[in-house]
Symmetry: C2
Amino acid sequence: MSSTTVGIGELVETLREEFPRITISKIRFLESKALIVPSRTNSGYRRFSEELVARIREILRLQRDEYLPLEVIAKRMERWLPTQSVKPASAAGPFTVAELARAAEVNAWLVEELTRHGVLREGADGYPTASLAIVEQASRVLELGLEPRHLRSVRTVAASLADSLRGRSEALSRSRRNSAPVELSSLLSSAVAALSGLNTAVAADEIDRLSPS
Amino acid sequence: MSSTTVGIGELVETLREEFPRITISKIRFLESKALIVPSRTNSGYRRFSEELVARIREILRLQRDEYLPLEVIAKRMERWLPTQSVKPASAAGPFTVAELARAAEVNAWLVEELTRHGVLREGADGYPTASLAIVEQASRVLELGLEPRHLRSVRTVAASLADSLRGRSEALSRSRRNSAPVELSSLLSSAVAALSGLNTAVAADEIDRLSPS
DNA sequence: TGGTGTCTCTATGTTCCGTTGAGGGTTTGG
DNA sequence: CCAAACCCTCAACGGAACATAGAGACACCA
Protein backbone atom coordinates (compact mmCIF):
# COMPACT_ATOMS: atom_id res chain seq x y z
CA MET A 1 0.00 0.00 0.00
CA SER A 2 2.62 2.49 1.05
CA SER A 3 4.72 2.98 -2.05
CA THR A 4 7.78 5.12 -1.75
CA THR A 5 7.85 8.82 -2.35
CA VAL A 6 10.66 11.30 -2.79
CA GLY A 7 11.13 14.95 -1.93
CA ILE A 8 11.62 17.65 -4.49
CA GLY A 9 15.40 17.67 -4.17
CA GLU A 10 15.80 13.98 -4.74
CA LEU A 11 13.26 14.15 -7.53
CA VAL A 12 15.26 16.71 -9.43
CA GLU A 13 18.41 14.75 -8.79
CA THR A 14 16.81 11.71 -10.39
CA LEU A 15 15.37 13.54 -13.34
CA ARG A 16 18.58 15.33 -14.10
CA GLU A 17 19.96 12.20 -15.65
CA GLU A 18 17.45 12.36 -18.46
CA PHE A 19 16.69 16.08 -18.37
CA PRO A 20 19.86 17.91 -17.40
CA ARG A 21 18.29 21.32 -17.23
CA ILE A 22 15.54 20.49 -14.81
CA THR A 23 15.39 22.61 -11.67
CA ILE A 24 13.43 22.65 -8.47
CA SER A 25 11.76 25.84 -9.49
CA LYS A 26 10.59 24.29 -12.71
CA ILE A 27 8.90 21.50 -10.83
CA ARG A 28 7.13 24.05 -8.69
CA PHE A 29 6.23 25.90 -11.85
CA LEU A 30 4.63 22.79 -13.31
CA GLU A 31 2.55 22.49 -10.19
CA SER A 32 1.49 26.10 -10.46
CA LYS A 33 0.23 25.29 -13.92
CA ALA A 34 -1.72 22.36 -12.52
CA LEU A 35 0.15 19.79 -14.54
CA ILE A 36 1.03 17.91 -11.41
CA VAL A 37 -0.39 17.76 -7.92
CA PRO A 38 2.15 16.34 -5.52
CA SER A 39 0.99 15.31 -2.11
CA ARG A 40 2.26 17.17 0.91
CA THR A 41 3.69 16.31 4.30
CA ASN A 42 2.07 17.84 7.35
CA SER A 43 4.59 20.62 7.27
CA GLY A 44 3.86 21.37 3.62
CA TYR A 45 6.81 19.69 1.93
CA ARG A 46 6.01 18.16 -1.45
CA ARG A 47 6.21 14.38 -1.86
CA PHE A 48 6.35 12.67 -5.25
CA SER A 49 5.08 9.16 -5.80
CA GLU A 50 6.64 6.90 -8.40
CA GLU A 51 3.58 7.33 -10.53
CA LEU A 52 3.92 11.04 -10.35
CA VAL A 53 7.59 10.87 -11.25
CA ALA A 54 6.66 8.92 -14.34
CA ARG A 55 4.08 11.52 -15.21
CA ILE A 56 6.63 14.28 -14.86
CA ARG A 57 9.02 12.40 -17.12
CA GLU A 58 6.32 12.16 -19.72
CA ILE A 59 5.50 15.83 -19.45
CA LEU A 60 9.13 16.77 -19.92
CA ARG A 61 9.46 14.40 -22.82
CA LEU A 62 6.43 15.80 -24.59
CA GLN A 63 7.83 19.23 -24.10
CA ARG A 64 11.31 18.34 -25.29
CA ASP A 65 10.57 15.96 -28.15
CA GLU A 66 7.23 17.13 -29.43
CA TYR A 67 7.50 20.79 -28.59
CA LEU A 68 4.05 20.83 -27.10
CA PRO A 69 3.03 23.80 -25.01
CA LEU A 70 2.25 22.92 -21.42
CA GLU A 71 -1.37 23.76 -21.83
CA VAL A 72 -1.71 21.16 -24.55
CA ILE A 73 0.24 18.63 -22.54
CA ALA A 74 -2.15 19.16 -19.68
CA LYS A 75 -5.11 18.49 -21.90
CA ARG A 76 -3.52 15.46 -23.44
CA MET A 77 -2.51 13.90 -20.15
CA GLU A 78 -5.79 14.31 -18.40
CA ARG A 79 -7.17 11.53 -20.56
CA TRP A 80 -4.94 8.70 -19.57
CA LEU A 81 -2.89 9.55 -16.54
CA PRO A 82 -4.08 10.51 -13.12
CA THR A 83 -3.06 13.89 -11.83
CA GLN A 84 -2.23 12.27 -8.59
CA SER A 85 -3.55 8.83 -8.00
CA VAL A 86 -7.28 8.58 -8.19
CA LYS A 87 -8.75 9.09 -11.59
CA PRO A 88 -12.41 9.55 -12.29
CA ALA A 89 -11.36 8.28 -15.71
CA SER A 90 -13.54 9.65 -18.41
CA ALA A 91 -14.96 6.15 -18.17
CA ALA A 92 -13.52 2.86 -17.03
CA GLY A 93 -13.93 -0.55 -18.53
CA PRO A 94 -14.74 -3.23 -18.97
CA PHE A 95 -17.34 -2.01 -21.41
CA THR A 96 -20.07 -3.65 -23.39
CA VAL A 97 -20.39 -2.71 -27.05
CA ALA A 98 -23.18 -0.30 -26.25
CA GLU A 99 -21.33 1.36 -23.39
CA LEU A 100 -18.22 1.76 -25.46
CA ALA A 101 -20.10 3.22 -28.39
CA ARG A 102 -21.89 5.62 -26.12
CA ALA A 103 -18.74 6.73 -24.30
CA ALA A 104 -16.91 7.35 -27.56
CA GLU A 105 -19.95 8.88 -29.21
CA VAL A 106 -19.95 6.58 -32.19
CA ASN A 107 -22.34 4.02 -33.63
CA ALA A 108 -22.30 0.54 -32.22
CA TRP A 109 -21.60 -0.87 -35.67
CA LEU A 110 -18.31 0.96 -35.72
CA VAL A 111 -17.29 -0.76 -32.52
CA GLU A 112 -18.25 -4.07 -34.07
CA GLU A 113 -16.36 -3.33 -37.25
CA LEU A 114 -13.26 -2.38 -35.34
CA THR A 115 -13.55 -5.57 -33.36
CA ARG A 116 -13.98 -7.68 -36.48
CA HIS A 117 -10.80 -6.23 -37.87
CA GLY A 118 -8.83 -6.76 -34.74
CA VAL A 119 -8.34 -3.12 -33.92
CA LEU A 120 -10.32 -3.62 -30.74
CA ARG A 121 -9.87 -6.64 -28.55
CA GLU A 122 -12.62 -7.97 -26.38
CA GLY A 123 -11.59 -9.48 -23.06
CA ALA A 124 -13.44 -12.15 -21.18
CA ASP A 125 -15.53 -9.60 -19.36
CA GLY A 126 -15.85 -7.01 -22.10
CA TYR A 127 -13.77 -4.30 -23.70
CA PRO A 128 -10.85 -3.09 -21.57
CA THR A 129 -10.55 0.52 -20.54
CA ALA A 130 -8.01 1.31 -23.22
CA SER A 131 -10.65 0.54 -25.84
CA LEU A 132 -12.24 3.90 -25.39
CA ALA A 133 -9.16 5.78 -26.51
CA ILE A 134 -8.82 3.42 -29.43
CA VAL A 135 -12.33 4.02 -30.66
CA GLU A 136 -11.94 7.74 -30.33
CA GLN A 137 -8.72 7.80 -32.26
CA ALA A 138 -10.00 5.39 -34.86
CA SER A 139 -13.03 7.51 -35.52
CA ARG A 140 -10.78 10.46 -36.22
CA VAL A 141 -8.86 8.41 -38.75
CA LEU A 142 -11.98 7.09 -40.39
CA GLU A 143 -13.25 10.59 -40.93
CA LEU A 144 -10.45 10.92 -43.43
CA GLY A 145 -11.95 8.29 -45.64
CA LEU A 146 -10.18 5.16 -44.54
CA GLU A 147 -12.15 2.01 -43.86
CA PRO A 148 -11.93 -0.03 -40.69
CA ARG A 149 -10.32 -2.84 -42.60
CA HIS A 150 -7.41 -0.59 -43.43
CA LEU A 151 -6.66 -0.39 -39.77
CA ARG A 152 -6.08 -4.09 -39.31
CA SER A 153 -2.36 -3.78 -39.42
CA VAL A 154 -2.28 -1.16 -36.73
CA ARG A 155 -2.79 -3.90 -34.19
CA THR A 156 -0.03 -5.96 -35.71
CA VAL A 157 2.45 -3.14 -35.60
CA ALA A 158 1.43 -2.24 -32.08
CA ALA A 159 1.93 -5.80 -30.94
CA SER A 160 5.47 -6.06 -32.20
CA LEU A 161 6.17 -2.62 -30.91
CA ALA A 162 4.91 -3.43 -27.45
CA ASP A 163 6.84 -6.64 -27.49
CA SER A 164 10.13 -5.12 -28.43
CA LEU A 165 9.64 -2.30 -25.98
CA ARG A 166 9.09 -4.69 -23.12
CA GLY A 167 12.37 -6.30 -23.90
CA ARG A 168 14.08 -3.00 -24.11
CA SER A 169 12.52 -1.78 -20.91
CA GLU A 170 13.76 -4.81 -19.03
CA ALA A 171 17.22 -4.38 -20.44
CA LEU A 172 17.31 -0.76 -19.41
CA SER A 173 16.03 -1.53 -15.95
CA ARG A 174 18.71 -4.09 -15.43
CA SER A 175 21.48 -1.82 -16.64
CA ARG A 176 20.52 1.16 -14.51
CA ARG A 177 21.66 1.67 -10.97
CA ASN A 178 18.71 0.18 -9.27
CA SER A 179 14.97 0.50 -9.33
CA ALA A 180 13.84 3.18 -11.78
CA PRO A 181 11.23 1.03 -13.47
CA VAL A 182 11.86 2.79 -16.80
CA GLU A 183 8.41 3.74 -17.78
CA LEU A 184 7.05 1.71 -20.63
CA SER A 185 4.61 4.43 -21.52
CA SER A 186 7.44 6.86 -21.99
CA LEU A 187 9.33 4.51 -24.28
CA LEU A 188 6.10 3.93 -26.10
CA SER A 189 5.61 7.59 -26.84
CA SER A 190 9.06 7.90 -28.31
CA ALA A 191 8.51 4.86 -30.42
CA VAL A 192 5.19 6.01 -31.74
CA ALA A 193 6.66 9.37 -32.61
CA ALA A 194 9.37 7.65 -34.58
CA LEU A 195 6.88 5.39 -36.30
CA SER A 196 4.77 8.29 -37.31
CA GLY A 197 7.75 9.86 -39.01
CA LEU A 198 8.17 6.67 -40.96
CA ASN A 199 4.49 6.61 -41.83
CA THR A 200 4.74 10.09 -43.23
CA ALA A 201 7.74 9.27 -45.35
CA VAL A 202 6.26 6.11 -46.79
CA ALA A 203 2.89 7.71 -47.43
CA ALA A 204 4.59 10.57 -49.24
CA ASP A 205 6.37 8.02 -51.40
CA GLU A 206 3.11 6.26 -52.03
CA ILE A 207 1.41 9.44 -53.17
CA ASP A 208 4.33 10.12 -55.39
CA ARG A 209 4.12 6.67 -56.89
CA LEU A 210 0.46 7.04 -57.78
CA SER A 211 0.71 10.51 -59.23
CA PRO A 212 4.29 11.34 -59.94
CA SER A 213 4.69 15.07 -60.36
CA MET B 1 6.21 27.25 -67.60
CA SER B 2 4.70 30.47 -66.31
CA SER B 3 2.40 29.31 -63.56
CA THR B 4 0.18 31.87 -61.95
CA THR B 5 1.15 33.90 -58.93
CA VAL B 6 -0.83 36.08 -56.54
CA GLY B 7 -0.10 39.21 -54.56
CA ILE B 8 -0.06 39.32 -50.81
CA GLY B 9 -3.60 40.67 -50.56
CA GLU B 10 -5.13 37.97 -52.67
CA LEU B 11 -3.04 35.38 -50.89
CA VAL B 12 -4.42 36.36 -47.51
CA GLU B 13 -7.89 36.45 -48.96
CA THR B 14 -7.48 32.87 -50.11
CA LEU B 15 -5.95 31.58 -46.93
CA ARG B 16 -8.55 33.18 -44.76
CA GLU B 17 -10.98 30.46 -45.68
CA GLU B 18 -8.92 27.88 -43.85
CA PHE B 19 -7.09 30.17 -41.44
CA PRO B 20 -9.43 32.98 -40.46
CA ARG B 21 -6.90 34.86 -38.37
CA ILE B 22 -4.23 35.16 -41.00
CA THR B 23 -3.06 38.69 -41.73
CA ILE B 24 -0.82 40.34 -44.26
CA SER B 25 1.61 41.22 -41.55
CA LYS B 26 1.84 37.61 -40.46
CA ILE B 27 2.85 36.60 -43.96
CA ARG B 28 5.55 39.22 -43.92
CA PHE B 29 6.55 37.96 -40.51
CA LEU B 30 6.95 34.45 -41.85
CA GLU B 31 9.21 35.81 -44.53
CA SER B 32 11.28 37.68 -41.98
CA LYS B 33 11.80 34.36 -40.24
CA ALA B 34 12.95 32.84 -43.52
CA LEU B 35 10.15 30.29 -43.63
CA ILE B 36 9.15 31.53 -47.05
CA VAL B 37 10.89 33.44 -49.80
CA PRO B 38 8.36 34.94 -52.16
CA SER B 39 9.62 36.29 -55.44
CA ARG B 40 9.34 40.00 -56.12
CA THR B 41 8.18 42.23 -58.93
CA ASN B 42 10.56 44.85 -60.21
CA SER B 43 8.99 47.36 -57.91
CA GLY B 44 9.43 45.08 -54.93
CA TYR B 45 5.90 43.70 -54.52
CA ARG B 46 5.76 40.11 -53.27
CA ARG B 47 4.41 37.42 -55.59
CA PHE B 48 3.34 33.98 -54.39
CA SER B 49 3.41 30.92 -56.60
CA GLU B 50 0.92 28.08 -56.13
CA GLU B 51 3.68 25.98 -54.70
CA LEU B 52 4.50 28.62 -52.20
CA VAL B 53 0.87 28.99 -51.23
CA ALA B 54 0.78 25.28 -50.53
CA ARG B 55 3.87 25.62 -48.43
CA ILE B 56 2.34 28.42 -46.43
CA ARG B 57 -0.75 26.34 -45.82
CA GLU B 58 1.41 23.57 -44.48
CA ILE B 59 3.32 25.92 -42.23
CA LEU B 60 0.11 27.29 -40.78
CA ARG B 61 -1.27 23.83 -40.32
CA LEU B 62 1.78 22.59 -38.48
CA GLN B 63 1.55 25.59 -36.25
CA ARG B 64 -2.15 25.22 -35.60
CA ASP B 65 -2.51 21.46 -35.33
CA GLU B 66 0.82 20.34 -34.04
CA TYR B 67 1.82 23.41 -32.07
CA LEU B 68 5.26 23.40 -33.55
CA PRO B 69 7.40 26.48 -33.06
CA LEU B 70 8.32 28.17 -36.33
CA GLU B 71 11.96 27.30 -35.95
CA VAL B 72 11.11 23.61 -35.86
CA ILE B 73 8.75 23.98 -38.77
CA ALA B 74 11.52 25.59 -40.74
CA LYS B 75 13.83 22.71 -40.03
CA ARG B 76 11.21 20.14 -40.84
CA MET B 77 10.20 21.74 -44.12
CA GLU B 78 13.63 22.23 -45.50
CA ARG B 79 13.82 18.50 -46.09
CA TRP B 80 10.98 18.00 -48.48
CA LEU B 81 9.67 21.29 -49.75
CA PRO B 82 11.49 23.95 -51.66
CA THR B 83 11.72 27.36 -50.06
CA GLN B 84 10.84 28.80 -53.37
CA SER B 85 11.04 26.50 -56.29
CA VAL B 86 14.46 25.05 -56.81
CA LYS B 87 15.59 22.64 -54.21
CA PRO B 88 19.15 21.49 -53.74
CA ALA B 89 17.46 18.54 -52.03
CA SER B 90 19.73 16.99 -49.50
CA ALA B 91 20.07 14.47 -52.31
CA ALA B 92 17.88 13.55 -55.23
CA GLY B 93 17.09 10.16 -56.63
CA PRO B 94 17.02 7.85 -58.29
CA PHE B 95 19.57 6.19 -56.06
CA THR B 96 21.44 2.94 -56.14
CA VAL B 97 21.60 0.91 -52.96
CA ALA B 98 25.03 2.25 -52.18
CA GLU B 99 24.12 5.86 -52.80
CA LEU B 100 21.04 5.57 -50.68
CA ALA B 101 22.90 3.94 -47.83
CA ARG B 102 25.55 6.56 -47.98
CA ALA B 103 23.12 9.48 -48.07
CA ALA B 104 21.18 8.13 -45.11
CA GLU B 105 24.30 7.10 -43.27
CA VAL B 106 23.26 3.51 -42.78
CA ASN B 107 24.62 0.13 -43.86
CA ALA B 108 23.74 -1.13 -47.28
CA TRP B 109 22.24 -4.26 -45.77
CA LEU B 110 19.64 -2.15 -44.04
CA VAL B 111 18.56 -0.76 -47.36
CA GLU B 112 18.32 -4.27 -48.70
CA GLU B 113 16.37 -5.46 -45.71
CA LEU B 114 13.92 -2.63 -46.01
CA THR B 115 13.51 -3.41 -49.66
CA ARG B 116 12.94 -7.09 -49.00
CA HIS B 117 10.17 -6.20 -46.62
CA GLY B 118 8.49 -3.79 -48.94
CA VAL B 119 9.22 -0.70 -46.92
CA LEU B 120 11.32 0.64 -49.74
CA ARG B 121 10.29 0.32 -53.35
CA GLU B 122 12.74 0.18 -56.16
CA GLY B 123 11.73 1.84 -59.41
CA ALA B 124 12.93 0.86 -62.83
CA ASP B 125 15.88 3.21 -62.57
CA GLY B 126 16.60 2.88 -58.87
CA TYR B 127 15.24 4.13 -55.59
CA PRO B 128 13.08 7.23 -55.88
CA THR B 129 13.99 10.42 -54.05
CA ALA B 130 11.48 9.79 -51.30
CA SER B 131 13.44 6.69 -50.33
CA LEU B 132 15.99 8.74 -48.48
CA ALA B 133 13.47 10.07 -46.00
CA ILE B 134 12.12 6.57 -45.54
CA VAL B 135 15.47 5.09 -44.70
CA GLU B 136 16.23 7.87 -42.28
CA GLN B 137 12.96 7.49 -40.49
CA ALA B 138 13.16 3.73 -40.50
CA SER B 139 16.57 3.76 -38.93
CA ARG B 140 15.20 5.86 -36.09
CA VAL B 141 12.48 3.30 -35.51
CA LEU B 142 14.86 0.38 -35.67
CA GLU B 143 17.01 1.93 -33.00
CA LEU B 144 14.15 1.21 -30.67
CA GLY B 145 14.53 -2.50 -31.14
CA LEU B 146 12.07 -3.27 -33.90
CA GLU B 147 13.11 -5.42 -36.80
CA PRO B 148 12.71 -4.46 -40.44
CA ARG B 149 10.14 -7.18 -40.86
CA HIS B 150 7.92 -5.44 -38.33
CA LEU B 151 7.70 -2.53 -40.68
CA ARG B 152 6.14 -4.45 -43.52
CA SER B 153 2.67 -3.25 -42.77
CA VAL B 154 3.71 0.36 -42.83
CA ARG B 155 3.67 0.21 -46.59
CA THR B 156 0.27 -1.40 -46.62
CA VAL B 157 -1.23 1.24 -44.42
CA ALA B 158 0.42 3.99 -46.39
CA ALA B 159 -0.94 2.62 -49.63
CA SER B 160 -4.54 2.60 -48.48
CA LEU B 161 -4.02 5.94 -46.90
CA ALA B 162 -2.64 7.47 -50.06
CA ASP B 163 -5.42 5.92 -52.06
CA SER B 164 -8.23 7.21 -49.92
CA LEU B 165 -6.62 10.61 -49.72
CA ARG B 166 -6.44 10.88 -53.47
CA GLY B 167 -10.13 10.23 -53.66
CA ARG B 168 -10.81 12.75 -50.98
CA SER B 169 -8.60 15.32 -52.59
CA GLU B 170 -10.43 15.03 -55.88
CA ALA B 171 -13.76 15.32 -54.16
CA LEU B 172 -12.67 18.42 -52.34
CA SER B 173 -11.27 19.99 -55.46
CA ARG B 174 -14.51 19.44 -57.26
CA SER B 175 -16.65 20.83 -54.49
CA ARG B 176 -14.68 24.00 -54.00
CA ARG B 177 -15.27 27.16 -55.96
CA ASN B 178 -12.58 26.62 -58.50
CA SER B 179 -8.96 25.71 -58.72
CA ALA B 180 -7.36 25.40 -55.26
CA PRO B 181 -5.70 22.08 -55.93
CA VAL B 182 -6.14 21.03 -52.30
CA GLU B 183 -2.68 19.94 -51.41
CA LEU B 184 -2.34 16.23 -51.00
CA SER B 185 0.64 16.67 -48.78
CA SER B 186 -1.39 18.74 -46.40
CA LEU B 187 -4.14 16.14 -46.19
CA LEU B 188 -1.46 13.57 -45.69
CA SER B 189 -0.04 15.30 -42.69
CA SER B 190 -3.40 15.46 -41.01
CA ALA B 191 -4.02 11.82 -41.73
CA VAL B 192 -0.70 10.71 -40.39
CA ALA B 193 -1.23 12.73 -37.25
CA ALA B 194 -4.55 11.00 -36.75
CA LEU B 195 -3.02 7.61 -37.41
CA SER B 196 -0.32 8.22 -34.91
CA GLY B 197 -2.93 8.88 -32.26
CA LEU B 198 -4.46 5.55 -33.07
CA ASN B 199 -1.10 3.85 -32.95
CA THR B 200 -0.52 5.21 -29.49
CA ALA B 201 -3.85 4.05 -28.22
CA VAL B 202 -3.54 0.54 -29.60
CA ALA B 203 0.03 0.16 -28.45
CA ALA B 204 -0.98 1.25 -24.96
CA ASP B 205 -3.67 -1.39 -25.01
CA GLU B 206 -1.17 -3.92 -26.20
CA ILE B 207 1.22 -3.16 -23.38
CA ASP B 208 -1.62 -3.42 -20.99
CA ARG B 209 -2.61 -6.77 -22.40
CA LEU B 210 0.84 -8.22 -21.96
CA SER B 211 1.46 -6.91 -18.49
CA PRO B 212 -1.80 -5.82 -16.96
CA SER B 213 -1.11 -3.59 -13.99
C1' DT C 1 -4.80 62.67 -59.78
C1' DG C 2 -6.69 60.30 -55.98
C1' DG C 3 -7.59 56.12 -53.71
C1' DT C 4 -6.12 51.85 -52.57
C1' DG C 5 -2.47 48.45 -52.17
C1' DT C 6 2.08 47.59 -50.87
C1' DC C 7 6.69 48.60 -49.19
C1' DT C 8 10.17 49.01 -44.97
C1' DC C 9 11.18 49.91 -40.40
C1' DT C 10 10.55 50.70 -35.73
C1' DA C 11 7.83 50.45 -31.61
C1' DT C 12 4.67 48.09 -28.85
C1' DG C 13 2.04 44.19 -26.95
C1' DT C 14 1.07 39.31 -25.52
C1' DT C 15 1.96 34.85 -23.99
C1' DC C 16 4.75 31.27 -22.55
C1' DC C 17 8.24 29.64 -19.77
C1' DG C 18 10.56 29.92 -16.47
C1' DT C 19 14.30 32.34 -12.74
C1' DT C 20 15.50 35.01 -8.75
C1' DG C 21 15.32 36.64 -4.25
C1' DA C 22 13.41 37.94 0.14
C1' DG C 23 11.65 36.25 4.20
C1' DG C 24 10.66 32.49 6.84
C1' DG C 25 9.60 27.52 8.44
C1' DT C 26 11.44 22.24 8.91
C1' DT C 27 14.56 18.45 9.41
C1' DT C 28 18.54 16.16 10.74
C1' DG C 29 22.44 14.93 13.18
C1' DG C 30 26.21 16.17 16.16
C1' DC D 1 19.86 22.87 21.18
C1' DC D 2 21.89 24.66 17.33
C1' DA D 3 23.82 24.92 12.64
C1' DA D 4 23.46 23.42 7.97
C1' DA D 5 20.76 21.84 4.57
C1' DC D 6 16.37 21.66 2.82
C1' DC D 7 11.95 23.40 1.69
C1' DC D 8 8.05 26.78 1.65
C1' DT D 9 5.31 31.03 -0.60
C1' DC D 10 4.88 34.98 -3.08
C1' DA D 11 6.04 38.70 -6.01
C1' DA D 12 9.06 40.60 -9.29
C1' DC D 13 11.84 40.12 -13.16
C1' DG D 14 13.43 38.54 -17.80
C1' DG D 15 13.96 36.61 -22.36
C1' DA D 16 12.29 34.48 -26.45
C1' DA D 17 8.67 33.61 -29.63
C1' DC D 18 4.94 35.46 -31.84
C1' DA D 19 2.88 38.73 -33.62
C1' DT D 20 0.42 43.78 -34.41
C1' DA D 21 0.31 48.76 -35.37
C1' DG D 22 1.62 52.97 -37.33
C1' DA D 23 4.44 56.21 -39.88
C1' DG D 24 6.16 57.59 -44.08
C1' DA D 25 6.89 56.52 -48.86
C1' DC D 26 6.33 54.36 -53.35
C1' DA D 27 3.28 51.73 -56.92
C1' DC D 28 -0.69 50.83 -59.55
C1' DC D 29 -5.06 51.67 -61.74
C1' DA D 30 -9.16 54.39 -62.93
